[in-house]
Symmetry: D2
Subunit: 137 residues, 4 copies
Amino acid sequence: MEKHLPTKEELTESLRFAPFHRWLDLRIGEITDDGLEIIMPWRPEIISNTNPKEVIHGGILASLIDHTGLYAVLSQGVKTTSTAYVHVDYHRLATSGPISAKAKILKIGRTISTAEIFVYGPDGTLLASGRGGYPCS
Amino acid sequence: MEKHLPTKEELTESLRFAPFHRWLDLRIGEITDDGLEIIMPWRPEIISNTNPKEVIHGGILASLIDHTGLYAVLSQGVKTTSTAYVHVDYHRLATSGPISAKAKILKIGRTISTAEIFVYGPDGTLLASGRGGYPCS
Amino acid sequence: MEKHLPTKEELTESLRFAPFHRWLDLRIGEITDDGLEIIMPWRPEIISNTNPKEVIHGGILASLIDHTGLYAVLSQGVKTTSTAYVHVDYHRLATSGPISAKAKILKIGRTISTAEIFVYGPDGTLLASGRGGYPCS
Amino acid sequence: MEKHLPTKEELTESLRFAPFHRWLDLRIGEITDDGLEIIMPWRPEIISNTNPKEVIHGGILASLIDHTGLYAVLSQGVKTTSTAYVHVDYHRLATSGPISAKAKILKIGRTISTAEIFVYGPDGTLLASGRGGYPCS
């Protein structure tokens, strides 16, 4: 049985359906065989600290990790509508944008699928990374 | 040597310093001996899904877990400015607000402090829970 | 439809079926409405460091957290045979035994159940804590 | 200031100092620029399930993930003596040995260093993976 793999347009439509994703102005970037990229621009309301310089809030990076993993699972033709868990490690402050999150599938499972996600700054510096688990629906 | 414990006013001022926290309109709730509560109202931009009903985005709950743990550590008079890691388990959809996040210190450590955080809906239902680690600065 | 809750004898039989659990000489302790306790004695092969004093290996505490969460889920009459993920925070060194691990159910879910687990030394000191997710089978 | 990078012999001596590591008969495998491999043979006491076939206990894989990450940090010349936290995702059952765990540094930090770790079966199948955080001492 062949699995339908969603197109970039279908993934984008699904991504932009969520008001929070539209507010963050998320876009699908590169799609690979085992994952995809989501790109997030800078915007003033997602700042955590402003002293000595503006830094994107860690929770925004956690959000990005969460839904980039989810969309990587969706890109494999697996049906999932929610996240079971997410783990995030913060490595460096995010002091400029846009931010790129790249997710790679670790395992497509019968009851749960897992992905690892890496978040990069505009110069390719690793800012945060983590993993998420997404139950099949 | 006595440690200065910040007042509710000082914690609120620090919390509201962050543009993202002001945008979320976060408020400090109850402060206990070993933790505190942060309250977040509903707002239309934090919605993930709208069909069949509106649901708060999981990433917003992850954010709330992250900074409620951080402020619980700050409430103990420990200096920390960032999160090292956060783990979040999602239990139920958040279909109404306001949302209450309650953090409890697990350990105030020499290099890292840890807290556990529970997120509740308006009727006291557990929606998500997790833990964060906050390095001493 | 009534769910059969396994007895302490049935849980013990299942626990002791695993060669690793027998080697660790694990026993079921107190069973509560929403969880249970597993007790692990000291044994010389589970030591990590011996200088300046003997300390139980962190991986052994992670194991204990993992299977105490699993048995807490089983104690609710839920069928699960494996762990999807486990997160462990280490708080203090385990310098004496026996060790007690107490698990409490966070959520019995349709596809995955989650538990939090706390590991204590003989004097009741919190040594480590964490959470695990267990898929329904 | 140049950092002393420990040799394979020094790392092995440190690894085998722990009674639990000797009991598991762990060996250092390949050492790379940003990580290393630890190899663990099969032994009957580390089995969890025996029906329908023998499977290595998940807690043993969690242990392996924990200390392979720690030794990857040590291999960078960073002093650390303990684990702050570990997160493990289980992907497939470990039905034969030897097991290989490969750790890669994510970030050498001022207060905490993080590594990701992948556990493989004899045929190169990914069995489990995770990440650990190791405070500087």
